[in-house]
């Protein structure tokens, strides 16, 4: 059971990792429902600047 749980977490982590960018985009776009368009724009600019400096 423990082994299965570990495999599941590992696979789920890999799916999230490989598709990190589109999932992040969906979260920021849809997140505007919670925090509005200005905060989403701020997060986008922050993500872009972070990528340019560290990735």
């Amino acid at each position: 059971m423990k082994r299965r749980a570990r495999t599941f977490v590992s696979n789920a982590g890999l799916v999230m990792g490989r598709s990190f960018c589109p999932f992040l985009a969906i979260a920021i776009i849809a997140g505007a429902m919670l925090w509005g368009p200005w905060v989403s724009l701020g997060i986008t600019v922050l993500a872009f600047v972070t990528a340019m400096r560290y990735v």
């Binding site: 799916v15 598709s19 990190f20 776009i29 429902m33 509005g36 368009p37 200005w38 989403s40 986008t44």
Partner: protein, 318 residues
Amino acid sequence: MSRDGGTAPVESDRWHILSHPQDLHCVIFHMACLVAYASAFWFYKHPKLVGITGQWSRAAFVATSAILLGWISGINVGVNFHNHSHRRIFTSPFMNRWFGRFWTFSCAWPSFFWEYTHTVHHAKLLGNEDWTLPQRNADGSFESFQRYVLEHWPWRYMVHLRKELISHPTLRRKALSEFAIFAALWSIPFCIDPIMAMWLWVLPQWFGNVWVMGPGMYVQHVGCVRKTPERPVSHSNIFLLKFFNTTMFNIGYHLEHHDNPKVHWSELPELHERLKKELIDGGAHVLPYGYYYASFLLAGDAERKTRFGDQHADYTKT
């Protein structure tokens, strides 16, 4: 029943649709991109849901969506579809053809045109006929980063694709039929709302091609020379940041990819480890970061550009 107790047949049945188990990530990535576009369209048409109360808040939503959709579209076609163009992800040719058509239209490319462009790049790498890469200055160096990204798509590509595909006697028919399929798919958002399509379809695709795929093409081969027996590993740069390669289908292992284009993207890190000594001895240019920081360096002043020349500490000859 096989000798292994049935494990192998179950495994092969499970992945019968896909050519390689890891290709599931390619499908998930692409579907997530389409969901992102659909979400942005939905919220644009239902502005109160996302707090759009006027022109300025609409502009904020459009700017956010255009940057993010362009970013993921550039990766989706420039990296993800790119893998499919080398190794088909489905076992069915029909699925490969149609999934491909539904893949590249989200970054304003007919799949056939993109594949042709990439074939030219691999076959003529760094030669005078490789029109996909930056043009050369008199000293042999690449033109400036900014000039390349702003001019290569769609302007330069359009000229070559028109000449080599649309005007080609044998490819013309296929090129035109593929373009017609692309045009039909690409026009869907315009049927929903033409203004929305300009902001959340055309603008992101411009961003994806110009500011995501363009920089990628630039950094992969800047400072490199055509492959020769004397310099066999100086035709591409290698980018080793783990986070970058995990989220970008291992595109950082670019030298290994050009030398072994049929190796599956998920197997490139292992191939890299096997070739490590050869790469160090041959003087391959290896960098400890990804394309984004490389673009930041190459878009800067002379001092910043010089830093791009620094070698990864683990890959220097002792």
